[in-house]
Amino acid sequence: MKQIFLFVSLAVIGFGLYLKFFYDTPDEQITINFFVSWFLIIVGTSSLLMNLFWASKKKQKSIEE
């Protein structure tokens, strides 16, 4: 489960970076491209961090037990 969540988070970040740096945006869609690409990067990064911290918390608990 953890691996799937990690993979989805990385895919979201990757897609955001693709939209930001490689997608040929028509001039009239620059604003929406800016918003969507940063949205994906922010959400992807935060879900990645949450996943890592959640996992480390569980690991810590199991060590304590």
Partner: protein
């Protein structure tokens, strides 16, 4: 849920809020770099012998993204139509003129785009479309492609010279239309108008 996760969640929501404000708020124009070219606010009157005659011309500068600024000259006798960002329209006795910019996808070339996308659009939207000529040329050092065609509007036949000029970001498109009977006499104005186009760098 531990404190770190709550902190990340709050930080994410704050970042998304800031992103929304920055994207759709008052700073939008500043961020994407749109600015009005100050010299585009008023046409500049000049006397020019570019046409081979002493016709008075007005110089127009487009307003758009800075990399798409251009300058073009039109005869002063032509009536300027409704102004629009990035382009101008004119009417004159027996015809119309338009200059605008056109977005070309990065995965295509201007010539390919003209022949595979723009010409089919013209064919489907204009009645009696018939290609008269297609040629490659150079306008002030920029590669250009010129499509000449005839079409019919309300039973009157018109000939149009549509010139696509390669640019750094967009292409410049000059569309000059005249009544077919007047094409011979007006060609002496069309060619200098097309050749007056240059990108401001």
């Amino acid at each position: 849920m531990n404190n770190k996760i709550i902190f990340i969640l709050v930080l994410t929501l704050a970042a998304l809020g800031m992103l929304t404000f920055f994207t759709f708020g008052p700073a939008t124009n500043m961020r994407i770099g749109i600015r009005v070219n100050p010299s585009s606010l008023q046409p500049t009157s000049i006397s020019n012998v570019a046409t081979g005659t002493n016709a008075a011309l007005n110089v127009y500068h487009n307003r758009d993204l800075a990399e798409n600024f251009y300058t073009i000259q039109f005869p002063q006798s032509w009536q300027l139509g409704q102004n629009q960002a990035g382009g101008y329209t004119f009417t004159f006795g027996g015809g119309t003129a338009k200059v605008e910019t056109m977005d070309v996808p990065d995965n295509s070339t201007l010539e390919l785009y003209v022949l595979s996308q723009d010409e089919p659009k013209l064919k489907s939207s204009l009645s009696g479309y018939k290609r008269v000529n297609y040629q490659k040329l150079s306008v002030n050092g920029s590669d250009a492609y010129q499509l000449t065609y005839t079409s019919t509007v309300n039973g009157t036949s018109y000939q149009t010279v549509r010139t696509y000029i390669t640019g750094a970001d967009k292409a410049g498109v000059i569309t000059l239309t005249a009544n077919t009977n007047q094409v011979g006499s007006i060609a002496s104005i069309f060619n200098p108008t097309i050749n007056s186009f240059h990108w401001e760098k």
